[in-house]
């Protein structure tokens, strides 16, 4: 077990290293510097800026320098938000994004797992069909579509919900809904198929033959087995929430990291893009590693393999 954890963590660190390297070089593939677009700056000033940010050095040296400071947790200075380090920006914006994503995760789990169970338990009945229809539609609606449609309907048409920022509890409703629709629908389907699969297993028949009640069969025997695929979905779910948060935060003007990432792209704020890419990838990679380890703890069978 310890050996496995060490191996998995080592692979995670390697993945982060790969992401950092790829990001660095892909970034520098783009011809022209970040200041070229600013016509107001003279050539001499540009030169000075490049020197200040160390962009005048050969690429190899820049890479070594960047990786060295990355090891110390230093993501460098933002090229656009002058005078602020990327670390400072992240520190101020990340909690907002995390809160939003965290609530969306909780909502997705609280909606998806029970709906999936209800659906599987009523297999073939109208309730099952209704849930499947909703779940299938939920998967088909990208978060950027659902957020603009929500914004239009509840923010502008009916004017019942605030459209900007996260200053009240009501302000969370739309962004969280937009973010949670896809994962909720996905978990519902995953839970349904996994529970149906488990319910057909021989050990469920054994449990019934022992005289275990329906309730205990579901909660003790079926759920613990059926939940395993949902746990493996946590990693991809974080990735999809991140994807969603980039646009959702922009549409609802939420001061989070996702919005900053998108504006960094349009503004070509290289260090900011680097910093956020590395940070967000690391979060997803770490989540994946934790899930893998957790999976082995919950399912005793895997230890041997």
């Amino acid at each position: 077990m310890a050996k496995y954890i060490i191996k998995r963590v080592a692979m995670g660190i390697f993945s982060i290293f790969i992401v950092a390297t790829v990001t660095f070089f892909v970034m520098n593939l783009v011809p022209g510097g970040p200041f070229v677009a600013e016509k107001s700056i003279s050539a001499a000033a540009q030169q000075a800026l490049a020197e200040k940010y160390g962009l005048d050095k050969p690429l190899g040296v820049q890479y070594v320098n960047y990786m060295e400071s990355l090891l110390h947790g230093d993501l460098g200075l933002s090229l656009r938000q002058r005078g602020r380090t990327v670390n400072q920006i992240i520190a101020s914006k990340l909690p907002v994004s995390c809160r939003l994503a965290g609530i969306a995760v909780v909502v997705a789990l609280c909606v998806g797992i029970p709906l999936g169970c209800i659906s599987a338990y009523n297999r073939g009945k109208w309730l099952d069909n209704v849930i499947i229809v909703f779940a299938t539609c939920g998967i088909a609606i990208p978060s950027f579509i659902s957020s603009v449609l929500l914004l239009y309907q509840f923010g502008m048409n009916m004017k019942v919900l605030p459209t900007v920022g996260l200053n009240s509890a009501a302000a969370y409703i739309m962004p969280v809904t937009a973010l949670a629709i896809y994962p909720s629908a996905y978990i519902t389907r995953l839970m349904r198929s996994s529970l149906l699969d488990v319910m057909g297993q021989d050990y469920m028949r054994t449990a019934r033959a022992k005289g275990v009640s329906q309730f205990m069969i579901l909660f003790k025997h079926a759920l613990r087995n059926a939940i395993l695929p949902v746990i493996t979905y946590v990693g991809p779910m974080l990735a999809s929430l991140m994807t969603g948060s980039f646009v959702v935060e922009k549409i609802f003007s939420v001061p989070g990291l996702g919005r900053d990432f998108v504006s960094a792209i349009t503004n070509r704020d290289y260090t900011m893009i680097m910093g956020t890419t590395i940070l967000l990838s690391s979060m997803v990679i770490i989540a994946n590693v934790i899930v893998d380890i957790l999976y082995k703890i919950i399912d005793p069978r895997i230890k041997l393999q």
Binding site: Q201, R205, A209, G211, D299, L304
Partner: protein, 333 residues
């Protein structure tokens, strides 16, 4: 004498699939007394397991009882509420399944799964239940029971797991034990061990056993009575000796001819039963075995044969037996 424990009358059970109604049981009747060991033999799909599961109320979706009566130890099974049924299952009647590899929940320890059934049906406290679980493992011949209780199913071999299944089944000393092909998934040497164990336990505990199998060797060594099933019918029923030495139904004869014998000459070939089992979606009007029967007659194709009593304990459903009686009757007249 010994009292009646199980009485099945004209049981009919169908699976309602999208392709149509699959008639799995077509009027199955038999009774069992306390302490009886009944062997139910037949090929796959003949309704052996379905009969046993219906006694346990384990009929899988989309199966449904469509007729007949099942009486077990004072309970009318077909009218029983799920809540009352639960009190019997694992307590008065319990079951051992075919595949021990998949019949135990992979995410709980052996101990947890044995204790669960003990605590469901008795008011033992936790410590007593664990002590009982340990006792049971010793009873089924598992060494180091303390250690095994803490292990997960995947850490045990197939034979061990089947022993655990038996321990779970016997935890509450049931009146009736149903063994659904308990040795089919095991190695031959392990099979013998498990059978020996079951015989041992029967002597010790005195429960009745329904032994479902397609292995005639197993029933010969274990059972006093045998029911031969084909296409949802019991085509022949009798004591072990009667079935083996005076088989009345062509299918039974076929089954017996298809087992290798030690005393026959080396060059003698085994005789297989030709053809494939009937399609239960469209069962034939006559005897279901007719299309595969070597001695099939015209009437066999159109009419279901009536019951012929060959002795007090032996009956069969075959037109050939009727033919014999018919010819005798004609001569007499």
């Amino acid at each position: 004498m010994s009292e009646k424990i199980l009485d099945i009358k004209e049981e009919r059970l169908s699976f309602f699939t999208p392709a149509g109604e699959v008639k799995a049981l077509n009027g199955v009747s038999f009774t069992m007394n306390q302490g009886d060991v009944l062997g139910v033999v037949g090929e796959s799909g003949s309704g052996k397991s379905v009969t046993a599961y219906s006694v346990m109320g384990l009929t899988a979706y989309p199966g449904k009882l469509v007729g007949g009566k099942v009486w077990f130890n004072g309970h009318e099974i077909e009218n029983m509420k799920e809540k009352d049924f639960r009190k019997i299952r694992g307590n008065e009647v319990s079951i051992i399944f075919q595949d021990p590899m998949t019949s135990l929940n992979p995410v709980y320890t052996i101990g947890n799964q044995i204790v669960e059934v003990i605590r469901l049906h008795t008011d033992k406290n936790k410590a007593d239940a664990w002590a009982r679980a340990k006792e049971l493992l010793e009873l089924v011949g598992i060494n180091e029971p303390e250690k095994r209780l803490k292990q997960y199913p995947h850490e045990l071999s197939g034979g061990m797991r089947q022993r655990v299944m038996i321990a779970i089944a016997l935890a509450c000393e049931p009146k009736l034990l149903i063994a659904d092909e308990p040795t089919t998934a095991l190695d031959v040497t392990i099979q013998a061990q498990i059978l020996e164990l079951m015989q041992d336990l029967r002597k010790k505990l005195g429960m009745s056993i329904i032994m479902i199998t397609h292995d005639l060797g197993v029933v010969a060594s274990m059972c006093e009575k045998i029911a031969v099933m084909y296409a949802g019918h019991i085509v022949e029923y009798g004591t072990t000796d009667e079935i083996f030495y005076q088989p009345g139904h062509e299918y039974t004869k076929g089954l017996i001819n298809s087992i290798p014998k030690l005393n026959t000459a080396e060059h003698e070939r085994l005789v297989p039963i030709e053809g494939t089992p009937v399609d239960l979606l469209n069962p034939p009007a006559g005897c279901p075995f007719a299309p595969r029967c070597k001695n099939c007659m015209k009437i066999c194709l159109s009419k279901m044969p009536p019951r012929t009593e060959l002795s007090d304990t032996h009956y069969t459903y075959c037109w050939l037996q009727q033919k014999a009686a018919f010819e005798k009757g004609e001569k007499a007249e």
